[in-house]
Every structure is written in C-alpha cells, then in structure tokens.
C-alpha cells in the first residue's frame, strides 16, 4: 500500500483497500461466517479483484503521460539516494563538509563498499517527513553541496576509487545566499572538473534530473536512468510560465520538453534505461535496488576494463558529441544528429 498515491494511482489504491478488506475478512471467523451466509466466496472475490488490479496496473502504467512521469519521478514513496546506498552498498562511511563554510545536507556522500570493492558514492538527498525535507532543502543543493561533492570526487580520483553518483533534485538552490556564494560558478567548476576526473564515474538518475542542479554532479562515463525518472533543462512549471505565463500548463510543457527516460535514450544522452517494477520503483524498493545494483555492476566492469586515459578521452567525446545542429555552409554542409545514436 502506498502512503502518498498520485491521482492516477488512486483507482489502484482503492482496489488495494478492497482486497485488504476481503483478506481481513478471510482471517476473521465471524466475518467469514457472515460472508458464507450471504453466499459470498471471499477467495474468489480476492482472485477476481487481483486480476482486475493487474489489468488496471498494466493499463495505467502503459499509458503514462510525460506529466505522469514527472509525478512518478517526484513520488514521495520513491526510493531516495540513501535508500539505495543502504541497500546496494555496505559499510557506508559518510563524509561531511566542503572545507569552506558548511556541510550541505542536500548532498550526501562518502566511502562505501560495492560488491566488495571500495568506491565513493554520493548523491542528492530528498526526504519524506517535512522536517527532514526542509533540512535537506528538498534536494536542492547549495554551493556548499557542490563543493562537498567535488571534494569527494577529488578524493575518489586521488585514491582511484570508482565514483557512483545518484541524481535526484528539482534544481540547484538559487536564493540570495546561493548567489552570494557563487552557485553558478560552483556548478561550472564541477562540470569542468568532472570532465577530466581520472576515475570511472557512473551516474544514475533515480528521480528528478533538475537542470543544472542535476548536471552539476552528472558528468559521467556511463549515465543510467530509471524508467520513471525525468531529466530536463527546466522544470515543466517554469517552462509553462515562460511559454504561456501559466504554471498550471506544466503537463503540456512536460510533453514539449521530452523529459522522459525514453526520450533521453533516444537522443543518445543516456546509456541505459533501468526498468522499474510495474507501477514504479516506489512499489518495490528491494526489487528496484536489485536492478540498479546489477546495472551498476555490469557497467562498472565495462569501465574497469578501460585504461584511465581511454576513459577520460571517451568521456570527453561523449559530451563533446551531444547536441544537434546542422551546417548550412554549402562547402561543409552536414547535419549532426547527435551523440551516440
């Protein structure tokens, strides 16, 4: 059962409630007796409802709109970075502080063991209850968060540890203090330094890939993305505000922005879409963790077979070739239709 069902999940939640009721009834002798008296076959009812539920699930989740995907990516029951760290990794030793003026709880990271190997893991951290959500600034990193992230990346480089990064943020913080501390400059420095970091980097977009706040820690050798995660140059609400001066038209903007995992893969901007359990990662934390783990494991092996120089050269080519454009100059006319496709 979900704590926070989305609108389009509510029919499923209602069925779930009904099934639960029957299941309860089947365990209570008095209720069972009452049902038999009324000629109701509880087991049959449950079976029928479960069949119906499965059909409903398939129907709903096969037809998610881009806006539904945004909602899924922001789902409050969705696993967050620390959930993955706790399940996929061992011996997590969190490191704190940017060595400049703060420790930003919106980004967590440290050493950990991944399948017996020492790695550095980090990522944006959201939270569920209000107090912790505020503490984590809703996953919006401040300059100190990016500085901490960069510090951990340099540690990973120094000690030749693979870097595994989870991305889940609505955007970078952009308030007065963030501007005063150079949020733009800090992100830019992260982009530059990650592109030449001499250690393998795997990035997993697990929820919201919110523009520069996401990309600031997402320059990797391998970019994985969960099926119902989104990755966008601008929040759909902001896009709608610019296009139509109407934030409520975010669903339309979501469609226009092509911000789903499927699109990111089509554009060649990510390397793999990690499938989620039917109905989304939030319905089966252990299962999605297993999928992420096995994908990480596969890709880490691939990267480990490259020399460091190949790795860094390959990373440069990867990002250097992103983007589409054409050259209308007749002498050199060419259409560049992207990156890795």
């Amino acid at each position: 059962m979900l704590n926070n069902p989305l609108d389009f999940e509510k029919p499923i939640a209602e069925l779930d409630d009904l099934i639960d009721e029957f299941k309860l009834a089947s365990r209570e002798p008095e209720m069972r007796a009452d049902a038999e008296l009324k000629g109701i076959d509880i087991e049959l009812q449950i079976a029928e409802l479960e069949t119906k539920r499965e059909a409903l699930m398939t129907q709903i989740f096969a037809n998610l709109t881009p806006w539904n995907e945004v909602q899924m990516a922001r789902h409050k029951d969705r696993p967050y970075t620390l959930d993955y760290i706790r399940t996929i990794f061992k011996d997590f030793m969190e490191l704190h502080g940017d060595r400049t003026n703060a420790d930003d709880p919106a980004i967590v990271g440290g050493f950990a063991k991944f399948q017996g190997e020492s790695v550095v893991v980090l990522g944006h951290q959201k939270a569920r209850d209000l107090k912790e959500r505020q503490l984590r600034n809703f996953g919006s990193a401040r300059p100190s968060g990016f500085r901490k992230a960069l510090r951990l990346m340099k540690l990973a480089e120094k000690f030749s540890r693979p870097l595994i990064i989870f991305v889940d943020t609505p955007a970078a913080e952009a308030n007065l203090m963030a501007e005063e501390e150079g949020i733009s400059s800090t992100i830019a420095i992260c982009l530059r330094e990650m592109s030449v970091l001499r250690t393998p980097i795997i990035v997993v977009i697990i929820g919201e890939g919110g523009s520069g706040g996401a990309l600031g820690i997402a320059v990797g050798d391998t970019i994985l993305m969960l099926e119902h995660a989104v990755y966008s140059v601008i929040p759909p609400e902001g896009c709608a505000a610019i296009l139509w001066s109407d934030r409520s038209r975010a669903p339309e903007a979501s469609a226009a922005l092509k911000l789903t995992a499927k699109h990111a893969a089509e554009f060649g901007l990510i390397d793999e879409v990690i499938g989620e359990p039917l109905g989304g990662a939030h319905r089966d934390h252990p299962l999605i963790a297993e999928s992420v783990k096995s994908s990480l494991s596969y890709h880490l092996d691939v990267l480990k077979n490259l020399s460091i120089q190949d790795l860094v050269d390959r990373r440069y080519s990867k990002f250097r070739n992103m983007g589409r454009w054409e050259n209308t100059d007749i002498t050199t006319a060419v259409v560049h239709v992207s990156s890795s496709d």
Partner: protein, 283 residues
Amino acid sequence: MARGGWFRKQSRNGAAEATVPDGLWSKCPRCGVISFARDVERNLNVCPKCEYHHLITVEQRLTLTVDENSFVEMDAGITSLNPLAFPDYDDKLNSDRAKTGRKEAIVTGRAKIDGQTLLIGIAEFGFRAGSMGGAVGEKIVRLLELAEQENLPVILFTASGGARMQEGLLSLMQMAKTSAALARLDQARIPYIVVITHPTTGGVYASYAALGDVIIAEPGATVGLAGRRVGNQDMGAKLPEDFQTTEFQYRCGMVDQIVHRRDVRGTLGKLLMFLTEARTYVK
C-alpha cells in the same frame, strides 16, 4: 518636438530592449532620460546620463573591440535544428535568422587586438535571447578546440538567457560540452578570458561564463543563475538593490574587474599581453 521611435517594445523577460532606436530620440530603460539617439551611439551606446550599457550588436561589439578588418568569421553556417519538434521553435528560429542576419546566437572567429591574434566569440542576444542550444555549444567547442590546436588565447563575450529550453535536455548538455572543452584548454594552459555583458544568466553563467581565467564585466549587467524574479519567489527575503548584477557578483568575488565599455578593449589588450607573453624563465 518630435519624439518618434523611443517607445520601445519591452521583451517578456524585461532584459532585452532595442539597442538603437529608429528615430531621433532614445529613452534610457534604466534612468528614463531621453537623449539624442546619435549622442547615445557616439557614447558607445552607453547612456550619457546614468552610464546604462545598452545592448549592442555583434558588429558594434567587433568595431569596439578588435583591430579594424581583422575579424574572420568561422562556422557561420552552423544553425539549430528542432530535435524535439518543439512548438513554434522553427518559426522563432526563422524569424530570428531574418531579424539578425545570423544563423545562431553566437558569432565566432579569428581576430586581432593590438596586433595580437586570438579567437573570439560574441553572443548575439537578438537571436533567441542569446540562449545556448546545440549550435551555440558546437560553435563554442570548435572555437576552443581550435584554440588548443593553434595555441591561441580565447575571449568570449557572453549575453544569454541560459540554455535553450526548446532543445530540452540536448541544450542542458551544452553546459557539460563547453565546460569539458574548457577543461582541456585549462590543462593546455591556454588563456581564456570572459567578458560578461548584459544579461548573462542561467546555464551560460553556470558553465563557460564562470570559467574564465580572468572574468571582466560591463557595469550594471544582469548576472545570476535564476533571475531576480525566481529568487524573490523562493525566498521572501529582502534582496539587495543590486542583486544579480555585475556589481553584486563583483562584491561576491566572481568578477575580476568591472570595466566600462570604453575600456574593455584596452583591458583585453593588456590581459592578452600578460597571458600570452613567452615564458622565458622556465627551464
């Protein structure tokens, strides 16, 4: 007294305004003073009253900045596609192509300042508010790669609303693409100077505009990540008068010098001299 031509259309984000009025008179968007358009032009398109630096075209910028007839454009044919089939984007591109006579929101090429050869890129704010899509990213990276090959210093004049929304995630990635090329330039120890002009925001400020070895900025320019409006909404806190301007960024340590338009050329000439001089003492 004729007053034709100074009622200018304000663009949606309040940042852009026509730079040179059609008529005889020009009203300053900051101080509101009405001046002879010719006087403003003669003053390098800086308001004679309040020193407001009007937006200028790439041609005007080149005239102010590089040695006469030294500029040779590169990659002028590179232009945007509409990979997302984003509504109205094709029309907007075509209209901006017609309006500016440019294929994209940046002009790049080779030029000289005080006789010193360099590679230069100048944002065309009139083209999609200077925003960075695939074509802008490609043109910048080609410039940077050429700089590395030929060991030439690079100067970028920035003016941009940020990453170009209509190209979605592909445009966001231009931040990583340009920054990666700058990482290589950095490792090759090639000078990279940024001149921030009004306005420089969003993904452009959070990538190549913030990565100069030296960063200078024209006074009064809007410079920040998210734009003043966003900041206001998010915080409710009282913002300083000069929030997200050149002066604010200078105070916060992000800008080396605030340079009046009339001094930009001289400053760049001096910087090039310092940065490109032969390294005589290294054994």
